[in-house]
Symmetry: C2
Subunit: 239 residues, 2 copies
């Protein structure tokens, strides 16, 4: 950053505080980026995930961490924002076949749009998002074709693009299994006890152990042969 030294390039990293986005931040750092973490207070039922995002941003050395606030509850129709039950103990083989009720309409599209705005004002051309298409293909905004089209749109619609620069949307986890993600993160010394993946945590931020996200996380640690540091809510209080 000082004159005469070679400044590290900057990247915006979308950070939910979950396992995937924490690993993504660690990967961006390892690639040499100075990272501007970006999270959203969007009316999610469990704002405790923002505490996880703060812990992760600090632990993994993000240069800055912004939280943008808006309210997707006014649009509704998702178990993550509305009073709709989060599905529990679904068989893993059932995931990915259809778009789940936990899908928040256009959420990643909105998140990436704010990332583009922050990238434009921060003179950075790299954006990282921790989407993952293999373990969980039910969300349309996690597919490789979406990321590719988003990048083309960003080149057409931003000042950076209009001035001939390119904007790269990095989705380093997109073709990794959950186990591979965890192994990569462990190699980068990510402390997964700081992360929160659960769609329905208790007040203390402990995982429910039964929603799709918890089931995939647990299976990931097992398959990665990594000890699972996740704190689960006691069985008797799980819904």
């Amino acid at each position: 950053m000082t004159n005469g030294s070679i400044a590290a390039p900057r990247a915006v990293v979308l950070l939910s505080g979950g396992l995937d986005s924490a690993t993504t931040l660690a990967i961006a750092r390892e690639m040499g980026f100075e990272c501007l973490a970006l999270s959203f207070d969007y009316g999610q039922r469990h704002k405790i995930e923002l505490q996880a995002a703060r812990r992760v941003a600090a632990a993994l050395g993000a240069r800055d961490h912004r939280i943008v606030k808006f309210d997707l509850r006014q649009f509704g129709r998702s178990a993550l924002t509305d009073n709709i039950d989060v599905p529990k103990n679904r068989p893993l083989e059932k995931m990915g076949g259809e778009i789940p009720i936990t899908y928040v309409p256009a959420r990643n599209i909105i998140f990436l749009s704010f990332a583009l705005a922050l990238a434009e004002v921060s003179d950075c051309r790299d954006i990282f998002i921790g989407v993952n298409a293999l373990d969980y293909s039910g969300y349309p905004d996690c597919r490789p074709s979406f990321i590719e089209k988003y990048q083309e749109m960003a080149a057409a619609g931003t000042k950076t693009g209009a001035e001939g620069g390119s904007i790269r949307i990095h989705a380093p986890l997109i073709s990794m299994t959950k186990a591979e993600i965890i192994q990569r993160g462990v190699a980068l010394e990510v402390d997964y006890s700081l992360t929160l993946s659960c769609y329905d945590p208790d007040d203390q931020g402990r995982h429910c152990g039964a929603c799709d996200s918890c089931l995939l996380r647990r299976k990931g640690f097992q398959e990665a042969n990594v000890q699972d540091p996740t704190e689960y809510a006691p069985l008797e209080i799980r819904s």
Copy 2:
């Protein structure tokens, strides 16, 4: 699209309260859409434009009008959100050559993303935006190539698209001059006295008459041979 049903199809219409978006709403109505107007309280310096949006939505028969709130000031770098002087009395031929200081990074990208979310939860596949590439080519997010790429991205990243539906981003003004837009609006009985185009209005919502947007608006009425109903702030208080 109606599949034999007699209900009018719905469309989301981005509505700033300016001349262009008011005309766009009138066009969408004339095409037979039931219109969900969508505006943003995004930290713009002149929130009085939201009053214009409300007036226009009501006058032009929008079925619903939502205002989504977030704060782009936390990103900064635009004369429309920050304490940066809005340029005044620029020669018209200078507009369009470069990206102006009134450009708000990724603004239309963000606006369209919320429109997509509203469209998804409202079962509508049509989104209208009043961008215009001819009169004012300085904004990258007003170019036809941007709209085209946005539409492709939306097909790839939404539930509607994943289920085989198409999402149409309509930009009916994109190749019209300001005079043509006004003539079209007059034919559709748009009351332009309700609209506010100015980047720097006074407290009473009167136009400054000197910013790029006012200059283009005034020239548009002249060239359209339509009496200009715009209320301008008295000269002595204009900056």
